[in-house]
Amino acid sequence: MAEYATPTTEQEFAENFAQLKPLMSNSEALLESSRCLFCFDAPCIKACPSGIDIPLFIRQINSGNATGAARTIYEANYFGNACGKVCPTEVLCEGSCVYTATGAKPIEIGRLQSHATRQVIDQGKHLFQPGAPTGFRVAVIGAGPAGISCACELRKLGHEVEVFEAKSKPSGLTLYGVAPYKITNEETLAEMAYLEAQFGFRVHYNHAISTRPDLEKLEQAYDVIFLGIGLGHTSSLGLPGEDRENCVGAVEFIEQLRIRQEQTTVGRKVIVLGGGNTAMDAASESARLGAEKVVLAYRRGKEEMGAYEFEYDLAKGVGVQGLFNVAPLEIVGNGKVEGVKFVRTATLNGQVQTVPGSEFVEACDMVIKATGQAKQTSFLSLIPELQVDGKGRIVFNPNTGQTTNPRYFASGDAANGGAEVVNAAAEAKAAAHGIHQYLTKSHLSS
């Protein structure tokens, strides 16, 4: 039995994908902020990859200074509202809140964060302005969390910034990848517009940088180039039948979902391949789109899944069924997907081994491959001297963002191999300072 009816209207879509962290009212924010202890050298700050001064902003909310709270947040992290809503707070700030040690609920830091930032966004209250012009020009490739954060900080430091984005909208996977029950398109874009209005960087949409001549143009026109390109498409599995109709990549499926919303089609019986957070998202999303049965198939045991426990709980909560210790052999069907042929596996000394003779076919009419995103290595190979490591990640200095080509800087998924929005935002801010140092040459060394 499906828990959700297929949404046919905007309203029904919003109900099926109701926000996990809805906006806090002023009363709720007052109650929740009152609980915060204002810890010394607070562990929540240390657990936040962007180092937001959490006790300070909570105290500001509590004393009726939500604008000051928003400033505290944005000074550390330009994706303040987005992070409040999409961060895995359970394993970051909230997971380290001292209250967890008492058995009491941790402070709802994420929702408080969004409460403060949404106020300044909705009221259009500007907190920042560009710095005095330095005359330096930086090209940013990619308008995702990394690119936009870097652009904001560079503008604050007075550098001219132009952003080149392949897609038609900003914020990268925040808009095209994160589950719709974590953040809505409207609020994602509102935060981007809010930032753009204050910092005044220019974004060229539908403008992919993909060839060597494209790059050369940038190299000539700009002093520094920042790579915020993220990762690529879903990696292929190399299985027979992968090209059948209705066998799709998770990233591509979710992108459609974020764009088309209730017009997205989903199978009646869906098999999701993978055990990471993206697999959990794709499975939950299929269920919320009204799929009758959603099966999550993973090569190893439940405990070995890479996904956060709360993400798996979320999927289970909407009726997703787990199928563990199975490896896909073939996507079966006749033009269209009709099922997946699996073989059972056993883990021996940490090695997954197939159990001969245990093959079976699990019927379905849609397969979603959530088996990781490919790296953009062929594009990166167009950049002279730029090294990537064995996993396809750009080699960079995490303190400065600088790559092995001194004029190229990078952060976010393309450099860290795929993490969270907050990591991209924090790294890119550090990279902006690295770029600033590089440009102003005030602090040089090799």
């Binding site: 202890l37 810890c39 050298d41 607070a42 180092g51 550390a76 600088q402 060394s445």
Partner: protein, 459 residues
């Protein structure tokens, strides 16, 4: 089952909880409802000269999300016709003959006092309370706290009242005075049967930051009001104690001020009150709070083996001493229970910045450590610790020695010059002033300040 009933200066009531003279006792309707809910008595909203009220009338001190920690009002005495009030008193007494109804009164001339005392008696009141406390509006007209602050005037008025009174007379004292025992003694000299305290404290609860006016705001302006509610309990307790300990007061005390739970009531009683009165808590939560109050009091009395309220009255008084009588040899220091500590480090920063630098942090753990030699046993850390019984104050002396400041003075053994060897803090360790500079900057300026410490790029 303990017996909660009291006989307060001749006024009988099924329990010691009375509603104080205030809006909850404005009408017969309210008082009957309160008695129905379980209250033992009610001091009627003050009757007297005709008045006119303003709107709005109340202001509040909120603490974080907690409403009405403190409360103030610029309201006057009852603005209802005297005849209506008297008729309703009579009706309530008929319906509740065993509950206490006390008429609170405030008028000016001797004749007016005589008339109104007789009216109150004729209506069937069990007692009379003289309101010498209101700190606004009435004092400008020579009543309320204007009387309470002048012991001689107070005594004269009490004498006028006693000329005609046939029922017990309670004098309600204002705290807006430097020594509460002065008006208390005046009440006794005038022949009063009991005192009640405290009335509200002159206050401004807050200022509107946009209108630049004090709360509550009446057409853009405000006035000082009378402060009450949980925040005033400490002041009330001290004044109750002062009256209860004073050898020349010797009158039953009705304790008022900040009573919201059975605990607050027991505290008033242990310091000498033999009935208690409640206003703000009833205005905040309604009459239903009485159930918690009576059941808590009953439970406490059973556990302690008190049979009657009188068994407990003043039980803490022998332990309230002057500072000079405290044992200087008694020593406690703080102890942290590492199993309970949640690592908030509030104790650390409190002691480091607000006390005696007697707590240190160690690498690799969030659990702070007490430096025993530096700890003066001030208690601050245990007060800020959010975990129950996590920081405890442990006794360090062997309990054999006892010496007070008074004894040392008598023995001529007190520090008398600067740098005297006998002074307390002389050999207490404090860090060098300059050691403060830059200390823990990275912890107290977090966020962005932590992030970009070293930025080194390749050319």
């Amino acid at each position: 089952m303990p017996d909660l009933s009291i006989n307060f200066a001749g006024i009988k009531s099924p329990n010691p909880f009375w509603l104080a003279s205030a809006p909850p006792t404005n009408s017969g309707y309210q008082v009957m409802k309160a008695f129905d809910a379980g209250w033992g008595g009610a001091v009627w909203k003050t009757l007297g000269v005709p008045v006119v009220n303003v709107s709005s009338r109340y202001g509040s001190v909120d603490y974080r999300d907690k409403r009405m920690m403190g409360f103030n009002n610029i309201e006057l005495i009852s603005d209802r016709p005297l005849a209506d009030n008297l008729r309703e008193i009579e009706e309530v007494k008929k319906r509740f003959p065993h509950h206490a109804v006390i008429a609170s009164l405030m008028v000016q001339s001797r004749q007016e006092w005589h008339d109104i005392v007789r009216d109150a008696e004729n209506a069937g009141s069990d007692g009379i309370e003289l309101n010498f406390g209101c700190p606004h509006g009435m004092c400008e007209r020579g009543m309320g706290s204007a009387v309470g602050q002048e012991p001689e005037v107070l005594q004269t008025i009490v004498e006028w009242v006693m000329e005609v009174a046939r029922i017990p007379v309670i004098v309600k004292l204002t705290p807006n005075i430097s020594d509460i025992t002065e008006p208390a003694m005046a009440a006794r000299r005038g022949g009063a049967n009991a005192i009640s305290l405290i009335n509200t404290i002159q206050s401004i609860v807050g200022v509107d930051l946009d209108l630049f006016a004090p709360y509550p705001i009446v057409d853009g302006k405000g006035s000082n009001g009378g402060y009450c509610g949980p925040a005033v309990k400490p002041i009330a307790l001290n004044m109750v104690k002062n009256c209860a300990q004073h050898p020349d007061v010797r009158l039953p005390i009705s304790g008022i001020g900040g009573i919201e739970t059975w605990r607050d009531a027991v505290e008033h009683i242990l310091l000498g009150a033999s009935s208690v009165q409640v206003c703000t808590a009833a205005m905040h939560y309604g009459f239903g709070i009485i159930r918690e109050m009576t059941s808590g009091l009953e439970q406490y009395m059973s556990e302690k083996g008190f049979r009657t309220i009188d068994d407990m009255v003043g039980r803490a008084l022998p332990n309230v001493k002057h500072w000079e009588d405290l044992n200087l040899k008694y020593k406690v220091t703080a102890h942290i229970n590492p199993d309970k500590c949640i690592g908030c480090q509030l104790c650390y920063t409190a002691c480091e910045d607000g006390a005696h630098q007697a707590i240190k942090l160690n690498a690799g753990t969030r659990i702070p450590e007490i430096i025993d030699e530096n700890c003066v046993g001030c208690n601050l850390c245990s007060l800020v610790c959010p975990v129950e019984q996590c920081i405890t104050m442990e006794r360090r002396d062997d309990g054999t020695q006892h010496q007070t400041w008074k004894e040392r003075t008598a023995a001529d053994d007190i520090p008398v010059t600067f740098n005297d060897e006998r002074a307390g803090g002389l050999h207490h360790w404090v860090p060098e002033p300059a050691a403060a500079l830059g200390k823990e900057k990275h912890k107290t300026l977090p966020g962005k300040a932590r992030q970009y410490q070293e930025v080194v790029v390749t050319e």
